[in-house]
Symmetry: C2
């Protein structure tokens, strides 16, 4: 059973509802309504040593930062601003308390950078260092932007070039050697990513942005999910590739755009934008955040995912990360 | 380093704040303010197979129920009503998807009983079946009742007799054999506990209830925590012991009140109540929920914890559960 299939089976099982829960399983975060004009969002992630991270190639402080950043990216994808986090932490018998405090220091550094508070948690014994983070954010009812709103004709765009995180992981693992400046870019992207919270709020506030999600499992996988939720297809015409990913792909003998497409954990936002407003939205994002909104392709009514490469149209297979494949 | 010491070190480290986070680490749940009149609460727990539960003596469905119930008990202790839960679940390579669905079925059954929705989650690989649950609730600003409000002279009370869960665990493990009716009571208390959500809301709505927490680590440990947060001490005069706990303690050759005092996971609420209002509050709880509020003792200005037994005063040591001792 693949991850998406098991998630669907779980989704079918937990069909319980609450009048104030507006969005349940299946988007970047769940949404509920504490009062009429307010929306709160919540997202949770589990990270296990040896599965999601290794102290062999990352400091424990960076592991903490990254865990927090991954959750903030989901909050960003709902156009929300983060308010608080809770941390459930499983430590081994022989985990030094100093390591736990380092992990917290990393999470707190990221929380400080984004102005949220770590407000609660739970400590437990576990057979591997295990971190379950939950982040809550708040968003105006009209700004909250889901995966399901993409419309045929929309421009598909991402908030940054892709593949740097994958290049960084390859560099940290010693699978590829990059020149110092590119190595630094790539390792920074992997170890201390900056989720696009400001960009998400700005994009969510625009009525021309129809759908949004974060691009944490690779563009090909995540775009397929967005299209499935929206009942549409997509044509990818251009994959913005980070300089470090370009160099890493070349050294590894891989095609750069496929390397970037399949590389997860870039934590950029993936949006679909009303075509005639795209230039305007991109200009606003650049003016207010300094970031470029990269045009990737276009939403199609036909539910297929295709990629146009040197004039030839190829079917696109989700080649991102599946924890259970 | 003991659990409470590590929690204190973490607490000192995560001193980041957010203007809308009103209560952080240290109470049953964190509290924030989505809008002026509303308070949201959030609590999280990690449960690991082999540490917190075993499939050897409990069905996986009951494990799911119990995990949800434990979090709802924390929400109850804030006088809040639960709205939603998120579930981060770590499964082993060889965990059958059917087991994951059973675990969800148990959580969902408990969620149904209390009217909340499972609204999101994360699936991951892990070296042991691991469950990190987070529950969010909502409460009126004036009802939210913390651990820190106990005042000298308050009556200390619990919402039910104690020790049944511990007796149930002993019965499930085969450490003690109880007569069928008592065994059923004890096993039900352990495997399918009913957190006191209605009682918590009722108690929180009374201005005569000064402090509240749930009694999940054993009365002696939890009362010590409540007293520490309130800067007071306590004198225990009477420990209400469940019939099954009485029988189990007798068979195990232990004193029944000590067995009940140290037995965690009863998920009753522990409150301190203005002395002259106690009878009135207890009558309202009985009228509206059918439950008895058991008088346990009295809050003292002197910061010691003592227990009066057959006329003799003994110092009370926290003998509840410490994950790290």
């Amino acid at each position: 059973m693949r991850e998406d299939e098991l998630v669907s089976a779980i989704d079918a099982l937990v069909r319980g509802s609450h009048s104030r829960v507006l969005v349940g399983i299946g988007d970047d975060a769940a949404v509920w309504q504490p009062s009429r004009s307010h929306r709160s969002v919540i997202t949770t992630d589990m990270l296990v040593e040896g599965v999601h991270f290794s102290r062999a190639w990352m400091s424990i402080r960076d592991i903490g930062w990254r865990a927090m950043a991954a959750n903030l990216s989901d909050v960003a994808a709902m156009a929300a601003r983060p308010v608080l986090a809770t941390v459930a932490l499983g430590m081994m018998e022989d985990t030094p308390p100093a390591d736990v405090l380092e992990l917290y220091a990393g999470m707190q550094a990221c929380a400080d950078a984004y102005g949220l508070a770590i407000a609660g948690g739970d400590l437990s014994r576990a057979p591997a260092l295990t971190l379950a983070l939950t982040v809550v954010g708040e968003v105006r009812a009209t700004d909250c932007t889901l995966r399901s709103g993409a419309r045929p004709g929309d421009v598909i765009a991402v908030t940054g070039a892709l593949g740097a995180s994958r290049a960084g992981l390859a560099a940290l693992r010693g699978e590829v050697t990059l020149e110092p400046a590119l190595a630094a870019e790539a390792i920074e992207a992997h170890a201390r990513p900056f989720p696009r919270v400001r960009e998400g709020r700005l994009l969510g506030a625009s009525r021309n942005v129809h759908a949004m999600m974060d691009c944490s499992d690779g563009l090909s996988t995540d775009l397929a999910r967005l299209c499935a939720r929206s009942g549409v297809g997509a044509r990818i015409e251009n994959v913005p590739v980070a300089a470090s990913a370009l160099a890493a792909a070349r050294k590894l003998g891989q095609e750069a755009d496929l390397f970037a497409l399949a590389g997860g954990e870039d934590f950029e936002l993936l949006v679909t934008v009303q075509a005639r407003a795209f230039a305007h939205v991109a200009a606003r994002v650049r003016a207010q955040t300094g970031r470029t909104l990269h045009r990737v392709g276009v939403v199609q009514a036909d539910e297929a995912l295709v990629m146009v490469k040197q004039g030839v149209t190829h079917p696109l297979t989700p080649s991102g990360w599946d924890h259970f494949a």
